[in-house]
Homo-oligomer: 527 residues x 2
């Protein structure tokens, strides 16, 4: 399997920023070069340059024309030397949280500090996000850098509410078609549009091999739900699951390089029945499986009972734990109910146990929540889970729009991210209906990128507004190509524009020449 | 031109609810009949019926199979007798606000009271929205029932923050193609998907004739921006506009039956220059035209100077005034600036002058606003404009997503509607790029319907949750058709579902049979 997958963006080039603590830290970014502003003063043509704009870049080496991609070899092993050096010094403690607590800034920490400060240095904007700030956030559990020592291909990124809001995309199949090539292609596609992490939720055949290909070729952290592979091993019979079998799956995936695991350790035997009071019961796959196990055996879940053992395994590889919310509400009616909040309390207990073992942790959140109940979710999570990052699915703010749930969830996602959620799990238009195709993935990623960016603006992240300002200035000055190049989806913007216009005009068909407000406005301002 | 335009919805029938004060009030609604819930107890099949659900219906007679549609004759004149009777009694005062202030409940008020209480009576939900409540809201200016006496075809609806959130759609062309048939078809298309009012923003030829066809065949209130027709009359030269010419346009459109006018009376000569401080100047077409006039003549705008004369005309026909926000921000950078808020102060002055003449009024709002600045917009509008309804365009919460601005604006729209905006102007994916086609209109309407509904849920409008609950119960019980029939866009939901599934299954391809959380959850809850 030798492919020539590359990623390119119009008007952009790949550039790198070097670290100062670690000169071998080279952070990849996109640089969009702009046209000058042109004003005619009588006969004279006056050009004023516009600054180049850096854009946070999740496309890894795929967008670097100097790197040749060979899927069989996998991507360059960016973090390999850093990991090796640490292993030589501290055989047993190789995790970001361990070093953070010791007061040591890792190359990964400097990497993310540079990455979070897009455009600030160039435009003289003061930013509080410095390597020492990153270290402290990781040490105190407020932020996570998912970074399995066996996934050196992954570019460091950070998940925490004092950083840019991140988005996760899901790929993987249920027990049907889809080749490995297709899955790798989907992973790269997600990175192209801006997915910050990627969950491989495959449940079909070749689960190990598919994951291997994805990991070796994925420039962003990869998460999984190990329960899915465990279920394949017991042929779908939840009652046959055991701790030993589950443990083996964990070790297998740690060895491969998975960066974080969603594990539904928050399900307690005593809470399983709470879902019976609900309109839509349980809608988490992992949650329903372990609940069924608890109910059949009438025993506390082995995920809860062996949580410390799980953490011991994860600590060895610096795999982060994402505490899955098995009791997330699946409808507006069930939002913020006893079942949901009982699980959150358990998660708050577990997160401290994870930290005690230097395992980085974050908490998964709802689900379906009407707008007036979103804030309570965020505030409770911060309080009960001691500031661990929140990672939410949506939330969807109404149930009545199947086919448009990327929008119902982007509305909730923007709000909860503004309130403090660190990472948003994307939702595609096919949610509740079918598996997404490539167009759906693109629609889902962009909907969530814009929701995340809206939250960055609302939180006043240093420099977040620079891209909006540059794009709006280009719009006002009819620099169409700059406008498109700076947008989240330059291809779509250009495609729509071309349905009605010739590129380069001084107005568009929305208003026609006599009614273009911006054109009239300019004649007022110029005079 | 004889067409056979009809509207149908799967699993739905058209029903009417009768008034009690006025027995000739018959409010059209959609009734969705559901399948029973089926449970097998051993061999025994137990069926439990599910209630039929009423859905607010903007499709008018187009969805009534007993009404034959003849576009040349126009729709049945629903309000004709009510209007005639009032005209016989009070030659000069025929407006909803006039009667409301006198303590009289009109048939239109009873109509909207019934319409706002979908499902409440049947399900025993107490609602405060009674005809007397409607009357008081109209009397005090907190709500508007747009109802030109010359548009008797329009079904009464109400715009106010204590009622269901409404959405407006825009149709009409700039100076190019598009036939009259197409425009009528677009109007009906908008009504099909749920547009509550319709603005005809045509600026091309046949502007009068197009509007006539739309009005005679439109079951929802129609708004216009009269300045566009005035500009056609001066061949696009803003400086040639005069009060007399504008007045004639107003009278012409009042006579035709336009229900509300957007007029940019809030632009003052002293504020025109404030836009020069901005990143993106003025982005309102009407606003930029009248600003240019002010600047060229160095005079106060004739719209402001003649505001009382405008109201005298509007009062005669019960046309509502929508105070256009000529200085709305066109970028995140310009949000909540001096220019915007200076205009809002002027609008607050004007709205009281409108009310003094019994002219119903609402206020138009931004634009582009980051999330953390949305609330200030709403609170200021309520305070400065004395509780007059707010009618906003979006707001868009980021500038960087051209091609996806129906989503950036739905995010802002859901929030501002929750805070109190009464009506949302839809935005389509083509915003900033080109005129929307039919698919874009559908995408825009549904995005805004779901945003409006999310706000209704957050505001806890009586009965708003009933539809969500019914749909979610259908989802949990794998009653796929009921789920689709209850959704905002049943056709799209079914289409997506069919890409991967056979209708009627006990799971979908998202999770496959072994991983369907809802199925596993049911086995837990049943046991």
């Amino acid at each position: 399997m030798n492919s020539n997958i590359k990623i390119s963006y119009p008007g952009s080039e790949k550039v790198y920023m070097q670290g100062t603590i670690y000169p071998d830290v080279r952070v990849g970014m996109r640089l969009v070069r702009q046209m000058p502003t042109v004003v005619m003063k009588g006969e004279e043509r006056i050009e004023t340059p516009n600054p180049s704009i850096y854009i946070y870049d999740t496309s890894g080496p795929y967008s670097d024309e100097n790197v040749s991609i060979d899927l069989e070899k996998g991507l360059p092993r960016l973090r390999e030397a850093w990991i090796r050096e640490r292993a030589e010094k501290d055989a047993d403690n190789i995790g970001q949280m361990y070093y953070a607590k010791k007061g040591i800034i890792t190359p990964e920490m400097e990497y993310v500090a540079i990455r979070e400060n897009m455009n600030c240095k160039e435009l003289g904007i003061e930013s509080h996000i410095k390597p020492e700030f990153v270290r402290r956030e990781v040490a105190e559990g407020r932020a996570v850098i998912p970074a399995n020592v066996n996934h050196p291909e992954s570019e460091p990124m950070i998940i925490g509410r004092n950083f840019l809001v991140k988005i996760n995309t899901n790929i993987g199949n249920s027990a049907t078609t889809s080749s490995i090539e297709e899955e790798v292609e989907k992973a790269v596609w997600s990175c192209k549009w801006g997915g910050d992490t990627l969950m491989d939720l495959s449940t079909g055949n070749n689960i190990h091999e598919t994951r291997e290909w994805i990991l070796r070729n994925c420039p962003v952290p990869v998460g999984t739900v190990p329960m899915y592979q465990a279920m394949e091993k017991v042929n779908g019979k939840a009652e046959d699951l055991t701790w030993e079998l589950f443990r083996d799956v964990l070790i297998e995936q740690c060895e491969q390089g998975v960066d974080y695991f969603t594990i539904h350790c928050g399900i307690r035997l005593k809470n399983v029945n709470l879902a019976a009071e609900r309109l839509t019961g349980m809608v988490s796959r992992g949650g329903s499986i372990i609940s069924k196990w608890c109910q059949i055996h009438q025993k506390e879940s082995f995920l809860y009972e062996h949580f410390d053992d799980i953490c011991d395994i994860l600590a060895k590889y610096d795999v982060a734990v994402s505490l899955g919310d098995g009791l997330r509400p699946g409808s507006i009616y069930d939002a913020n109910d006893r079942a949901q909040f009982a699980e959150l309390d358990t998660m708050g207990e577990l997160v401290e146990r994870a930290w005690a073992k230097n395992v980085q942790a974050f908490i998964e959140g709802p689900g379906h929540v009407p707008m007036h109940k979103i804030k309570e979710n965020m505030e409770r999570q911060i309080e009960k889970c001691h500031n661990a990052p929140f990672y939410t699915l949506g939330p969807l703010v109404t149930d009545i729009a199947p086919g448009y749930d990327h929008i119902t969830s982007a509305i909730g996602a923007a709000q909860i991210a503004w309130y403090g959620t660190a990472m948003l799990c994307y939702v595609t238009p096919k949610e509740h209906l079918a598996l997404p195709n490539k167009d759906d993935v693109r629609d889902g990623v962009i909907a969530f990128k814009l929701a995340a960016h809206a939250a960055d603006l609302a939180k006043q992240h240093p420099g977040a507004m620079i891209r909006d300002n540059a794009l709006s200035k280009a719009r006002y000055e009819f620099r169409w190509k700059d406008q498109f190049n700076l947008s989240l989806d330059p291809e779509k913007a250009l495609e729509y524009y071309k349905t009605a216009n010739h590129v380069g005009g001084k107005y568009c068909t929305m208003c026609g020449p006599n009614f273009c407000a911006m054109r009239i406005s300019q004649t007022i301002c110029d005079s």
